[in-house]
């Protein structure tokens, strides 16, 4: 599955890019699986995802739990807990 991945705040800074398009293996079923897989994609990813619980996920611009299925997603974003307002 080819999916757009987007990173914000310190997730973006640690990975060193704001977005990329990735071909995701078929056995990656949930957002949590995707975090685990991304953490294996190099030192900068390992650093960004060293504490998966600190990372929030949005699937197609909607907040998602780590357990949420990502099949068919066009855009998946990773970011710290929000701090606006």
């Amino acid at each position: 599955m080819t999916t757009n991945l987007i990173y914000f705040a310190w997730v973006r800074e640690r990975i060193g890019r704001s977005h990329e398009t990735r071909d995701i293996p078929d056995d990656i079923l949930t957002a949590g699986d995707l975090i685990t897989w991304l953490a294996s994609q190099g030192e900068e990813y390992a650093n960004a995802f060293s504490n998966p619980d600190a990372v929030r996920v949005a699937v197609d611009q909607t907040h998602a739990d780590h357990g949420q299925a990502i099949a068919g997603a066009k855009e998946i974003a990773f970011f710290p807990p929000v701090t606006g307002g």
Binding site: A9, Q61, H63, A77, P80, V82, T83, G85
Partner: protein, 152 residues
């Protein structure tokens, strides 16, 4: 109902006037304005940078606003959130609610702020007086603030 994400400042009086224009059925208007404090947990800062998720931000704010209109009899509401670099003292966010009576206006404005703080994809980075950048941590109290709005 209106949601705007913008770099430029807002004019609170003008936003209130826009909600009131041409109508005499409003009795209560509440505004909340969030501003940049010059001293935070991290010490003195020289600026605050607001990053956001274009598209999702507007969608999320629109959802929150629609939820407020479902819960309270509102005659109007406006949410404006600034992005980019802001100096201490500058405005960050504005919420305006208009209703016939004051409790609906107060409660819906608090609701909008509580949800915005925990759901809208904005991130703050402070720059300290020594030039170092520091991403602001989410406050647990902001998540707690949502609990009182949970439906029974």
């Amino acid at each position: 109902m209106a949601v705007r994400v913008q770099a430029q400042d807002f004019d609170i009086g003008a936003e209130i006037a826009a909600l009131q224009e041409g109508r005499t059925d409003i009795g209560a208007i509440v505004t909340f304005t969030g501003t940049v404090r010059g001293t935070t947990k991290a010490g003195d800062i020289t600026s605050m940078t607001l990053e956001h998720y274009p598209g999702m931000t507007e969608a999320e704010l629109g959802r929150v606003e629609a939820e407020a209109h479902g819960r309270w009899p509102l005659q109007g509401s406006t949410i404006i959130h600034r992005i980019g670099d802001l100096a201490p003292g500058e405005n960050v966010v504005l919420v305006v609610t208009a209703s016939r009576h004051r409790h609906a206006a107060f409660e819906s404005a608090e609701f909008l702020m509580d949800y915005l703080k925990s759901r809208a994809p904005f991130w703050k980075k402070e720059t300290g007086t020594d030039g170092t950048g520091n991403w602001v941590d989410a406050r647990e109290s902001d998540e707690d603030a949502l609990e009182r709005w949970a439906k029974p």
